[in-house]
Amino acid sequence: MNEYVTPSADEVSLYGDRVRVYPRAVHGIARNFKWALLIFCLAVYYILPWVRWNRGPGNPNQAVLLDISTERFYFFGITFWPQDIVLLTGGLILAAVGLFLITSLFGRIWCGYACPQTVWTDLFMLVERWIEGDRNARMRRDAGPSTLDKVWRKLAKHSVWLGVAFWTGGGWIMYYVDAPTVVGDFWTGQASYGVYGFTFLFTATTYVLAGWAREQVCTYMCPWPRFQSAMLDEQTLIVTYQGWRGEPRGRGKRDVIPAPVLGDCIDCHACVHVCPTGIDIRDGVQLECIGCGLCVDACNEIMTRTSQPLWLIKWDTLARQAGLAKGEIVEPIKLVRPRTLIYLAVLGIAVAAMGIGLAMRSLLEVSVQHERAPLFVRLHDGSLRNAYTLKLVNKYTHDVSFTVTVEAAMRAKLQVAGSTDAPADAITILVPADSVGAYRVFLDAAPGGVEAKNAEITFLLRDTTDNILIKRSANFIGAGKPGGG
């Protein structure tokens, strides 16, 4: 037992020096999966802006483009308008609930494999290993003097890092402006300050976060590790060290007689050396652990070498491990639990709502607004005029022409404001492709008494190309007294 002694103030620093992590290369199932996902994610990220998609003349031909200046988000065959922002909200809900579900099932899969911080850090570590060698070589060189060998390797590493960071930062911009154009403009000095500024910004953040900050981001900056414990329970599959099997750890031969009282862990620290966050999984569940499973691979290598059963470190649930530690027969892994069912249900509802929203999303939008100032105007012949603003949104890539009529209890005629045509029963409005137009129309009710009262009316808009009929109800405001008198 330790006896407790209060340390004097000058011995305990308020600030911790960063412990440099030198992760070692490792091979195995988790690593292979991680490589595969890394290649996939990076390929999507770097290639997607270059994929073309024909939308007809006058429209951008980039498959995925978030065009801020024209307020459009192009995604292959779909064009989103600012009005579709609910779909974005839905998409975010979908992503969040999906993340909850995955986390409650398999732990921090996102952190370990798909998070951009992890992916780019992995990529940067790969570069580091190529240039500076593996863990031991790097540690030795860093501790040693500044030789020519050290200097050129450091220089080379940072140059390649900066190159990758620049490629990444530039790649980000290409989602906002046409990729081939912006690349040309960039190198001929014709791109906007925004393009140069953001390229610089994202180059810098990539370089700093993936090259220098690394695990510090996960441990100190990212909020996700702090609240992901709300999604984890003792039934979640996480990376665990099977202490009941491994302890007491120790070096020494296990096949001698009489057998020493030693567990399977030979205390080689291989699991610690490969860990990208530099922790010891044998201490149990930890905030820093991103669930990457590299320690699983490392330990399996050792177990093979020492001819012991694999999976001393494995993916398992806390409940099962607690049971195994007590020597009980444990139940199988439960993927179906109230928590996962609830997440699944919410996810299902969100997917359905999104699907319906996307399917019912109209490419023509019409709204009718009664003008308020003035509510009505008396004309010289005694008829009463109400003015309306028809807001017509045409999300098609072709012009749409509407024939507008009105269903009303009184005799009334329509006229487009500013038009020289006489008021008529039907008017035609042409809405150019990919545009929003506000059109003022007048509805003149003939004098005769009916026009004195408020009335419900209906605007009928027929799209003359596709023959779609859109109805919008509106109010007619009467003068309160008959005209002509």
Binding site: M1, V12, V377, H380, P447, G483, G485
Partner: protein
Amino acid sequence: MPTKIEKDVISGRETTGQVWDGLRELNTPIPRWWLYTFIATCVWSVGYVVVYPSVPGLFGYYHGAIGYSTRVEVNSQVASIAAIRARSMDRIEATPFAQIASDPKLMAVAMAAGKITFANNCQPCHGAGGGGRPGFPTLASDSWIWGGKLEDIQTSVQHGIRNEDPDARMSQMPRFGVDGLLKPVEIAAVADYVLALRGANKDGTDVTAGGKLYAENCVACHGEKGEGKREVGAPNLRSAVNLYGTSKDAIIAQISAPRQGVMPGWNARLDAATIKSVAIYVHSLGGGE
């Protein structure tokens, strides 16, 4: 003599040496780079205080090394916007109405300028959207006293009506009752005739006498059939739109002691391009000819 740093038995980690109700706090120091980041922000703030206006004084404030001021910035931005706007406004001034109408961009500028100017200057009398008020004409209607063409509206706005401007629109209706030009019975007869012109002679009153008086006194301005005459600002007596009411009493009052509206000329306050824009806006409200 070095003291031993206390370690936690279970985790093996150092503690801060502090105990609350038997609970010992593990020492989890924040990273040193975090401290450096904090110091960097402090250094930054010192630079900020030096460069930008920061320290208030009793009679002023420290203006900062580069003399930055949001007010100066606003003024320069306003000036640059004015310069940009001037380009369009100069064109509006130089371009005839018909050509403005065929230039959507110029038209949009004129409409915007006209709308704002109208709201600031005309709306108090003529109502939002030109809806009119009792005694102040409705501008959104097709009934005009002085004319509803763009040029007519422009002239009305420029010089106003019945004011000191020598070019103002002028007309004076005689005060038939107050000045004794017609006797009360005669005025009543004329009123009956005007009602008949409006098609409101429902009880079939005999209006021959009124008709004669109308022909002698009113026709010159209001026309044979009461259709009015815009050159003299004589309103159409048969229009459903009216300024002072259409009851017999209202007509009698108007003949006896006419109320006649006055409108200021806006030449003094608004420049030519703005007045033109207002004319375009008013013309668009619904009654423009």
